[in-house]
Symmetry: C2
Subunit: 359 residues, 2 copies
DNA sequence: CGCTGTCATGATAGCGCTACCATTTGTTTT
DNA sequence: AAAACAAATGGTAGCGCTATCATGACAGCG
């Protein structure tokens, strides 16, 4: 709007040394209410106003009241960027996930978010699309925001990312899978989950079992489950064929997976899908084709999505506590950020075999 | 780690005036590589280093090369907080949604995210849990981060929030519903969507139609659809009963909704559900009870989730372009942030009636 | 009555970066 | 050849806040 007449100075005595500080530099105005203005209105110093807002019990009642009143009157909105720069703390938590399509990650985010937001932290969200180089870029950016902590899905990172994180002195939380991480870790044992389901299928009497996954190079946790699955079958002397789909996991992909399995392995008795989306897609497709589940073909999934519990027959699956994982990760981070000791760096959230009518 | 011997100064001549600037103030060290160090290593001034990174074509090739080399060698990570404070720009986009459980919002976020991240923007995510006061708090926080723009779901805000946003001079994007917003708006007409489905149901010959929604005071867009639905039925002289569930929309809630409708309105021929989760839950529950869909009871939903397209019979629903909505919103924001004119502030993404076998 | 300790407050000096202007150098114009 | 201009670079001064230290006021203590 109106920038107060800049001639006020130019009319002043001409100075020979141009470096003198009395030339009126134009600066972005930003006409925003600042803490100093609040302090002035409240009749205290800026630093007291700052304390009144950030450490309310470090100032007297009267000072606190008049500052809060001034904040109200002036409509002051704290500049968190300036505050973060000055204090080198930001109350931002970086959250990096490989996908937002897969509802699994969204549920983890949900758990994180509800717990962190209650403590006044904000989530800075990044999506790698299963690309570790992209992850590195995101980490770099997020470190630049001096995040208070970083949450990332998985234990695998590229070497640049690893170096960057190793030298970072804030909490790092790796979620989803269990293992030796960089710092904190909350997850479950995917190999064991694969073993668990394979064991169940064998117990049910199935011998011709195909594992179907989608993009296993990316979704390496699904391939860890396959490892567990394969190990069990091998112990029993059973062959463990793998069918890898090139599309991302979805109901549609599950239907295609079923078709391919039936074409390539006609004797198949059971299909162990890498996740529930695929499994339900296959189950519904099987029914559309007039196949009986589990008599003609048994189907198992992974995750325990609500969807699988509502189809008939109910889907046999492994329930992973996703929101719980997010909540626990958030709690551990908060504990750490509060300066508390961590008793355990690794937390196994476990999983539950949920036997439905589909196997 | 090692803070260079602080006695260097204390050994110096004792000064009588303690306010002299040569007393060695301890300051947080933060031992991080700064742009000045990069500049020094590259043999240029800090400001040139800054330009080399932010406006590469404003510096000479040689300067740019040596700066980039120094960045690489020193492992420099730009401090975005400092940069944002100095420039009053942040490349952060605040995104506020009412829920993360409802996959609809997640898909919008997905669309926003993929488009914004490609342009170098980061998403700051907030969840209101359908609470407008919470929305106000989040907006306040996000303004404090000097976000480049703000995206929020819906056109309704409390008055404090409205005031805050009205005085904010950055783009504001309201998504999901169409209407007179504060600034930019991308959405669809929910009343029209409700009309559309009601018309379809009547065309199919149904006369006893119940609308079932969950928490309509919160999910007011669902109640706008009911308004459209009711208007159509009223025009035909048909009664339009409403059943409101107290739980959030889910497959489980849909099953309960079906039970309640059958109990309260035994003559019901068709149920118009507020969303697909409810509708599919009801559809699957009906089948478990041996009811035929649509002969015994017709079922319709809203959203066009993949799920509804994979059940048998296929769910009649209204397809809303959710990711598309996010992408379009992001594109419009980017256009605006790039200083381009906006031709239209309102964008109708429309909807599609998808007729399945369930009606 | 001085000494020490706590409490509330303030003065000062940055946090690391970029906007603003000024300067230098090289290139074009008349 | 002087003037006019553009391109590249640098000096300075903040952005708005908070960490650090200093100070004054007042209580408790021997």
């Amino acid at each position: 709007m109106s920038k107060d007449s800049p001639n006020a100075d130019s009319r002043a005595k001409n100075v020979t040394t141009p470096a003198l500080p009395n030339n009126a530099r134009q600066r972005r105005s930003s006409d925003q209410v600042t803490l100093s203005q609040v302090a002035q209105a409240a009749g205290v110093s800026p630093i007291t106003a700052s304390r009144a807002l950030n450490y309310p019990d470090k100032v007297s009642d009267s000072a606190r009241r008049s500052v809060l009143q001034a904040v109200e009157n002036l409509g002051y909105v704290p500049n968190l960027v300036a505050g973060s720069l000055a204090s080198a703390r930001s109350r931002l938590i970086a959250v990096i996930v490989p996908s937002l399509i897969n509802s699994v990650f969204v549920e983890v985010i949900k758990g994180l978010q509800e717990t962190l937001e209650a403590e006044g932290y904000q989530i800075l969200l990044g999506n790698t699309d299963y690309d570790l180089d992209r992850e590195y870029q995101l980490v770099r950016t997020f470190l630049g925001w001096s995040c208070s902590a970083l949450v990332t899905a998985g234990l695998r990172h590229n070497s640049a990312c690893h170096t960057l994180l190793a030298n970072w002195d804030h909490p790092i939380m790796e979620v989803m899978e269990l293992g030796q991480g960089m710092d904190l870790n909350v997850g479950l044992d995917h190999v064991a989950a694969g073993r668990c389901m394979a064991t169940h299928l064998i117990d049910q009497g199935y011998r011709h079992i195909v594992y179907v996954g989608a993009r296993l190079a990316q979704d390496y946790r699904a391939s860890m489950r396959f490892d567990g699955h394969k190990a069990v079958l091998k112990e029993k002397g059973i062959d463990a064929p793998l069918l890898e789909l090139d599309t991302l996991g979805s109901l549609q992909a599950g239907a295609e997976g079923l078709a391919q399995v039936l074409a390539q392995y006609p004797h198949t008795q059971a299909i162990h899908f890498a996740n529930d989306d695929l499994a339900v897609g296959a189950l519904l497709a099987a029914q559309r084709q007039g196949l009986n589940v589990p008599e003609d073909i048994a189907i198992a999934g992974f995750n325990g999505l609500p969807l699988g519990q509502h189809v008939t027959p109910q889907l046999t699956t492994i329930l992973s506590p996703r929101e719980e994982m997010g909540r626990l990760a958030a709690k551990e981070l908060i504990r750490r950020l509060g300066g508390k000791n961590v008793y355990r760096r690794q937390h196994d959230v476990g999983f539950t075999l949920q036997i439905g009518g589909s196997t």
